[in-house]
């Protein structure tokens, strides 16, 4: 650690730099400050979430009242329907879950949590956001080109996605793919930054096991992303050439192979699930420790199981393709690996539940969301066992059972995980508290309708209803009134849930300007970000902290206070 000590020595004599007040552009638009870049990612993510939510509203209305005029959209044509579901999926994963959970939280929290003044490469960080913003613009512009937005599902299986005579979106499809590719590049740059920062720029005294779980999770997620996305970037180039120039990498008529794309996609796509899961798990870990005043149960075990999950996630991808034309013998291998992944994940969740044991639980809004994450994610987890079992997947593949299953994982991850973090870190981000009562109204208004949307969809899936069909009237077995009532019920639940986001938005905006002043450490938490002023100035800390202990020393016997910040010498 010789190098670290020598730099620490120079740091202690170093004043935190005083800039003159930067103008609007360099403060908000071309900022290199990790906190501002984190905000940019967050607000872009929220806007995209609204677009994605609007799309969900439109196609749910179409499913409940097929062919009727949807208020705020008009009549949904099949082409528009396909484009809506495709972009809803792509947006929610690539432009909501990724930027909010990894980029926004990672940018905002990593330097604060490991006690340094910024990311190691602030300008690459800025570049990462700018590329991301371009990807957003390309994506949105793809809705308005002749032919409309791409409608071949977010998995973009060729030949449908590769040839415009099949998908009928000659401009939408390549633009969509280009947007996804740009987004990958943005997150590769961001990921390298996160990993390098955490490896190299930790505060003096912060050893491996002193790093908060949140930071670990973002770093491991970035590693998974980096290792899995490469083949898909190559594959996306090939698909883009197929679409625009007419090469035949995926065209069977000329010796190409459509199944290759499925492998490339899911080799990335399955680790991607864990890429977004892990940061949400990290945020939940921070929150349940703080609000139950408990040390995280078996920190090291959680860390090892995370690594195990990450590595295992590379061995399971073909369970998405059981019935997609892969060799039946391969299904056995992938069933075994898939079901095995339940072991580390279950162990991780057990550790989280065990953390609550003997605690002093205070049900503030962030804690409610964190607990809801555990309760709801369990449903997503156990229903995954059905789909990972090859024999069962024959029936369930591409039904609403799958759809309900992954919404029970992705909704807790992307939405509940996001609300957990925003309610928890809001005081740090804006220096003010959010309103507690409205927070609770928002909580119940989100969680109850959420279950009302997706529990009926499990039933529809069990009845054999397939995904991505814009009107079930063509299928006599599915057009029964009983099943249709479930669809209507799910749709109205979705509408109710969307309406309940309005209190959140108002609470959020009002609290930024009018909320109660928060002070440095409103939750009495241990991790380093709470030792910085709220909101942290450029350069974060008045004096860069030194770390003396692990991050979760709550309620240590013999101490008067029930928390023990990482940077307090004793």
């Amino acid at each position: 650690m010789t190098m670290a000590e020598s730099t620490a020595a120079t740091e202690s004599s170093h004043e935190v730099h005083h800039h003159k007040e930067p103008d609007f552009w360099s403060k908000y638009v071309f900022s290199t400050d990790h906190k501002m870049i984190g905000m940019q990612y967050m607000f872009t993510g929220i806007v995209m979430a609204l677009i994605g939510g609007y799309m969900a509203y439109v196609f749910r209305m179409q499913l409940a009242y097929p062919g009727e005029h949807v208020p705020g959209f008009g009549t949904v044509t099949p082409l528009a329907y396909n484009s809506l579901i495709t972009n809803h999926g792509a947006i929610m994963i690539f432009w909501v879950a990724m930027p909010i959970l990894i980029a926004a939280l990672g940018n905002f929290l990593i330097p604060l949590m490991i006690g340094c003044d910024d990311m190691v490469f602030p300008r690459i960080n800025r570049l990462s956001y700018q590329i991301f913003l371009i990807s957003v613009i390309v994506l949105i512009s793809s809705f308005f080109v002749p032919g409309g937005g791409f409608g071949g599902a977010w998995t973009a299986y060729p030949p449908l996605s590769a040839q415009s005579q099949y998908n009928l979106t000659p401009f939408g499809a390549p633009l969509w793919l280009l947007a996804v590719a740009l987004e990958f590049v943005a997150f590769l740059l961001g990921g390298i930054n996160f990993i390098t920062t955490t490896m190299n720029a930790r505060a003096k005294g912060m050893k491996m096991y002193d790093i908060p779980i949140m930071v670990w999770m973002i770093v491991i997620a970035s590693l998974l992303f980096m290792a899995s996305v490469g083949p898909l970037i190559a594959g996306a180039v090939m698909l883009l050439f197929d679409q625009t120039l007419g090469t035949t990498f995926y065209n069977p008529e000329n010796g190409g192979d459509p199944v290759l794309w499925q492998h490339l996609f899911w080799f990335f796509g399955h680790p991607e699930v864990y890429v977004v899961l892990l940061p949400a798990m990290g945020a939940v870990a921070e929150v349940i420790c703080v609000f139950s005043r408990k040390k995280l149960f078996a920190y090291k075990t959680i860390l090892y199981t995370t690594f195990a999950t990450g590595i295992l996630s590379f061995f399971v991808w073909a369970h998405h393709q059981f019935i997609a034309g892969i060799d039946p013998r391969m299904a056995h291998v992938f069933t075994v690996t898939t079901v095995i992944i339940s072991i580390p994940i279950a162990e991780m969740l057990f550790c989280y539940i065990a953390t609550l044991f003997g605690g002093s639980i205070e049900l503030r809004t962030p804690m409610l969301f964190a607990l809801a994450f555990l309760a709801e994610f369990l449903i997503g987890g156990v229903t995954g066992i059905y789909l990972g079992s090859s024999g069962m997947d024959i029936y369930f593949h591409d039904t609403y059972f799958v759809l309900a299953h992954f919404h029970y994982t992705f909704f807790p991850i992307a939405i509940i995980g996001f609300f957990t973090s925003i309610y928890y870190w809001f005081p740090k981000m804006f220096g003010r508290m959010m309103n507690e009562t409205w927070g609770k109204i928002h909580f119940w208004g989100t969680i109850i309708p959420f279950n009302c949307i997706f529990l009926p969809l499990f039933v529809l899936g069990m009845a054999g209803q397939h995904r991505r069909i814009y009107n079930f009237k063509n299928f006599p077995d599915l057009a029964t009134p009983d099943l249709h009532n479930l669809r209507i019920f799910a749709t109205w639940s979705a509408v109710v849930m969307l309406v309940f986001q309005i209190p959140f938005m108002i609470n959020f905006m009002v609290s930024i300007f009018r909320g109660k002043k928060a002070g440095k450490n409103p939750w009495k938490a241990n991790t380093l970000e709470w030792t910085a002023p709220s909101p942290p100035p450029h350069g974060n800390f008045k004096e860069l902290p030194v770390v003396y202990r692990p991050p979760y020393e709550y309620s240590v016997p013999g101490r008067e206070k029930d928390y023990w910040p990482q940077n307090e010498p004793n």
Binding site: N82, P159, L160, A354, M392, H466
Partner: protein
Amino acid sequence: MIESLLDNVSTYGGKIDNLFTLITIIVGVWFILAEAVLFYFIIRYRRKEGVKAQYVTGEKKKEHNWIAYPHYLIILCDIVIIAGAVMVWYEVKQKLPPADEIIRVTGRQWSWIFTHPGPDGVLDTADDIETVDKLHVKVDTNYHFQLESKDVIHSFSVPVFRLKQDAIPGRVITGWFNPTKTGEYDVQCAEICGIGHGIMAARISIETPEAHQAWLDEQSKMDQTQRMAMSAENQIENREDNDNG
């Protein structure tokens, strides 16, 4: 459990339903247990004035066993589930029983073409009967189907058989089924295949041997163009009925 929502009319469908029940019981117990413990902790350990939280690291062996033992049990459950899943998969997808009859199923944007071997029972002969969006099969017969696609990826799904298989252009994939009950049921396309994905609906008619023979005789009298025209007409009628209903 699934059967209460949708009939099962194939020989292996019951096994898939049983697998569903098996998994439901195993994961259901775990799920209820985990949720119960979670909610018990939330209620039991609510904040009380003057009560300090305990300091439990989870690193001690005794504490860690609380995690370790359930985790061994999970491995056991996993083995049971894997065994069940693999056996069903092997029967449905891998080991094909000898065929009594072979049909060809071809997906295209956006309809299913079913090629019946006709009276001689052999495909690719002059007496083949091609139909659009209507498959006629005999009850209690081992069928092999050769699945092909003309353009994009489709997925041949017969929910009442619990059967599904993607059709990949360029490949010929063989599968099997054996219907156990007569009746008429949905055939769906389960993989998005363009704007017409939602209308790519077909029907499968499972008939008694006599009824099937009668259908064959009737078809053999017509030539192929007449047959195609007939089935296309039926299809349009069906859709109109549905749209009105």
